[in-house]
Symmetry: C2
Subunit: 97 residues, 2 copies
Protein backbone atom coordinates (compact mmCIF):
# COMPACT_ATOMS: atom_id res chain seq x y z
CA UNK A 1 0.00 0.00 0.00
CA UNK A 2 1.53 3.26 -1.13
CA UNK A 3 1.60 6.25 1.17
CA UNK A 4 -0.97 7.89 -1.04
CA UNK A 5 -3.31 4.95 -0.54
CA UNK A 6 -2.90 5.40 3.17
CA UNK A 7 -3.69 9.08 2.91
CA UNK A 8 -6.77 8.23 0.90
CA UNK A 9 -7.92 5.68 3.43
CA UNK A 10 -7.40 8.11 6.24
CA UNK A 11 -9.55 10.70 4.46
CA UNK A 12 -12.23 8.12 3.75
CA UNK A 13 -12.21 7.08 7.39
CA UNK A 14 -12.28 10.59 8.75
CA UNK A 15 -15.07 11.67 6.42
CA UNK A 16 -17.09 8.61 7.35
CA UNK A 17 -16.66 9.36 11.02
CA UNK A 18 -17.62 12.98 10.57
CA UNK A 19 -20.74 11.99 8.70
CA UNK A 20 -21.76 9.47 11.31
CA UNK A 21 -21.08 11.84 14.18
CA UNK A 22 -23.20 14.50 12.53
CA UNK A 23 -26.02 12.07 11.77
CA UNK A 24 -26.13 10.98 15.40
CA UNK A 25 -26.03 14.59 16.45
CA UNK A 26 -29.23 15.09 14.52
CA UNK A 27 -30.57 11.83 15.87
CA UNK A 28 -31.24 10.36 12.47
CA UNK A 29 -31.22 6.70 11.48
CA UNK A 30 -29.56 5.56 8.28
CA UNK A 31 -33.03 5.23 6.88
CA UNK A 32 -33.85 8.82 7.79
CA UNK A 33 -30.68 10.03 6.14
CA UNK A 34 -31.41 7.84 3.18
CA UNK A 35 -34.67 9.69 2.61
CA UNK A 36 -33.04 13.06 3.14
CA UNK A 37 -30.06 12.45 0.91
CA UNK A 38 -31.31 10.07 -1.74
CA UNK A 39 -28.54 7.57 -0.98
CA UNK A 40 -29.56 4.03 -0.07
CA UNK A 41 -29.14 2.66 3.43
CA UNK A 42 -26.45 0.13 2.50
CA UNK A 43 -24.55 2.81 0.65
CA UNK A 44 -24.64 5.11 3.66
CA UNK A 45 -23.50 2.29 5.89
CA UNK A 46 -20.52 1.63 3.67
CA UNK A 47 -19.58 5.27 3.42
CA UNK A 48 -19.75 5.91 7.16
CA UNK A 49 -17.60 2.86 7.78
CA UNK A 50 -14.98 4.02 5.32
CA UNK A 51 -15.50 1.33 2.72
CA UNK A 52 -15.98 3.49 -0.32
CA UNK A 53 -14.07 5.82 -2.60
CA UNK A 54 -17.01 8.23 -2.67
CA UNK A 55 -17.82 10.51 -5.53
CA UNK A 56 -18.03 14.25 -5.03
CA UNK A 57 -21.75 14.27 -5.79
CA UNK A 58 -22.40 11.89 -2.92
CA UNK A 59 -20.55 14.08 -0.48
CA UNK A 60 -22.39 17.16 -1.70
CA UNK A 61 -25.72 15.44 -1.18
CA UNK A 62 -24.81 14.21 2.26
CA UNK A 63 -23.43 17.52 3.45
CA UNK A 64 -26.59 19.18 2.22
CA UNK A 65 -28.85 16.64 3.90
CA UNK A 66 -26.93 17.00 7.14
CA UNK A 67 -26.86 20.77 6.83
CA UNK A 68 -23.15 21.21 7.04
CA UNK A 69 -20.69 22.85 4.70
CA UNK A 70 -18.93 20.46 2.38
CA UNK A 71 -15.65 21.95 3.57
CA UNK A 72 -16.39 20.73 7.06
CA UNK A 73 -15.78 17.19 5.88
CA UNK A 74 -12.22 18.13 5.01
CA UNK A 75 -11.28 20.25 7.99
CA UNK A 76 -11.38 17.61 10.63
CA UNK A 77 -10.79 19.36 13.91
CA UNK A 78 -12.47 16.13 14.96
CA UNK A 79 -14.91 17.70 17.38
CA UNK A 80 -16.99 20.06 15.32
CA UNK A 81 -19.99 20.43 17.54
CA UNK A 82 -22.43 23.25 17.06
CA UNK A 83 -22.31 26.22 14.80
CA UNK A 84 -25.68 27.62 15.70
CA UNK A 85 -27.91 27.26 12.69
CA UNK A 86 -26.62 23.75 12.17
CA UNK A 87 -28.40 22.37 15.18
CA UNK A 88 -32.13 22.11 15.06
CA UNK A 89 -32.99 19.30 17.47
CA UNK A 90 -36.72 19.76 17.56
CA UNK A 91 -39.03 18.93 14.68
CA UNK A 92 -36.33 18.26 12.18
CA UNK A 93 -38.11 17.77 8.91
CA UNK A 94 -37.72 14.23 7.70
CA UNK A 95 -39.43 14.75 4.39
CA UNK A 96 -37.20 14.22 1.43
CA UNK A 97 -35.87 17.54 0.21
Amino acid sequence: MTPRDQELQSWIDRIGQTLRRRRKELDLSLEDLSRLSGATVPSLSNIERGKRDVKLSTLVNLASALRIDLAELFTDDASETNTEAQNLPAGYDLEDD
Copy 2:
Protein backbone atom coordinates in the same frame (compact mmCIF):
# COMPACT_ATOMS: atom_id res chain seq x y z
CA MET B 1 -31.84 20.47 -12.85
CA THR B 2 -32.37 20.37 -9.11
CA PRO B 3 -30.71 22.94 -6.87
CA ARG B 4 -28.46 20.18 -5.56
CA ASP B 5 -27.30 19.44 -9.08
CA GLN B 6 -26.45 23.08 -9.42
CA GLU B 7 -24.51 23.04 -6.20
CA LEU B 8 -22.64 19.97 -7.38
CA GLN B 9 -21.78 21.57 -10.69
CA SER B 10 -20.57 24.67 -8.97
CA TRP B 11 -18.26 22.61 -6.77
CA ILE B 12 -17.01 20.66 -9.75
CA ASP B 13 -16.33 23.90 -11.60
CA ARG B 14 -14.62 25.58 -8.69
CA ILE B 15 -12.44 22.59 -7.93
CA GLY B 16 -11.46 22.34 -11.58
CA GLN B 17 -10.51 25.99 -11.65
CA THR B 18 -8.51 25.70 -8.46
CA LEU B 19 -6.63 22.74 -9.82
CA ARG B 20 -5.85 24.45 -13.07
CA ARG B 21 -4.78 27.66 -11.36
CA ARG B 22 -2.44 25.74 -9.14
CA ARG B 23 -1.00 23.73 -12.02
CA LYS B 24 -0.24 26.91 -13.94
CA GLU B 25 1.24 28.40 -10.81
CA LEU B 26 3.71 25.54 -10.81
CA ASP B 27 4.14 25.90 -14.56
CA LEU B 28 3.22 22.32 -15.28
CA SER B 29 1.64 20.93 -18.43
CA LEU B 30 -1.17 18.40 -18.22
CA GLU B 31 1.40 15.84 -19.18
CA ASP B 32 3.67 16.87 -16.33
CA LEU B 33 0.80 16.61 -13.89
CA SER B 34 -0.17 13.31 -15.40
CA ARG B 35 3.23 11.89 -14.51
CA LEU B 36 3.11 13.40 -11.04
CA SER B 37 -0.40 12.28 -10.19
CA GLY B 38 -0.89 9.10 -12.14
CA ALA B 39 -4.01 10.44 -13.83
CA THR B 40 -4.10 10.45 -17.60
CA VAL B 41 -3.94 13.67 -19.61
CA PRO B 42 -7.51 13.40 -20.94
CA SER B 43 -8.78 12.73 -17.47
CA LEU B 44 -7.02 15.78 -16.10
CA SER B 45 -8.39 17.88 -18.93
CA ASN B 46 -11.92 16.79 -18.13
CA ILE B 47 -11.55 17.38 -14.43
CA GLU B 48 -10.08 20.85 -14.80
CA ARG B 49 -12.88 21.78 -17.14
CA GLY B 50 -15.53 20.57 -14.72
CA LYS B 51 -16.77 17.65 -16.77
CA ARG B 52 -16.47 14.97 -14.14
CA ASP B 53 -18.01 13.87 -10.87
CA VAL B 54 -14.57 13.09 -9.49
CA LYS B 55 -13.85 10.42 -6.95
CA LEU B 56 -12.21 11.28 -3.66
CA SER B 57 -9.13 9.24 -4.54
CA THR B 58 -8.55 11.37 -7.61
CA LEU B 59 -8.71 14.58 -5.61
CA VAL B 60 -6.34 13.19 -3.00
CA ASN B 61 -3.84 12.26 -5.69
CA LEU B 62 -4.09 15.62 -7.39
CA ALA B 63 -3.81 17.64 -4.21
CA SER B 64 -0.76 15.60 -3.28
CA ALA B 65 0.83 16.04 -6.70
CA LEU B 66 0.19 19.77 -6.60
CA ARG B 67 1.37 19.99 -3.01
CA ILE B 68 -1.71 21.55 -1.57
CA ASP B 69 -4.00 20.49 1.22
CA LEU B 70 -7.07 18.65 0.07
CA ALA B 71 -9.13 21.10 2.12
CA GLU B 72 -7.89 23.90 -0.08
CA LEU B 73 -10.01 22.57 -2.89
CA PHE B 74 -13.11 23.16 -0.78
CA THR B 75 -12.32 26.52 0.72
CA ASP B 76 -12.30 28.55 -2.42
CA ASP B 77 -11.28 32.03 -1.45
CA ALA B 78 -10.68 32.01 -5.17
CA SER B 79 -7.23 33.58 -5.06
CA GLU B 80 -5.12 31.27 -2.96
CA THR B 81 -1.70 32.32 -4.06
CA ASN B 82 1.33 31.37 -2.01
CA THR B 83 1.59 29.71 1.32
CA GLU B 84 5.35 29.58 1.45
CA ALA B 85 6.33 25.95 1.25
CA GLN B 86 3.84 25.39 -1.50
CA ASN B 87 5.79 27.36 -4.03
CA LEU B 88 8.96 25.91 -5.29
CA PRO B 89 9.46 27.48 -8.71
CA ALA B 90 12.98 26.32 -9.38
CA GLY B 91 13.88 22.74 -10.09
CA TYR B 92 10.49 21.30 -9.40
CA ASP B 93 10.92 17.59 -9.54
CA LEU B 94 8.98 16.12 -12.40
CA GLU B 95 9.76 12.56 -11.57
CA ASP B 96 6.74 10.53 -10.72
CA ASP B 97 6.31 10.31 -6.97
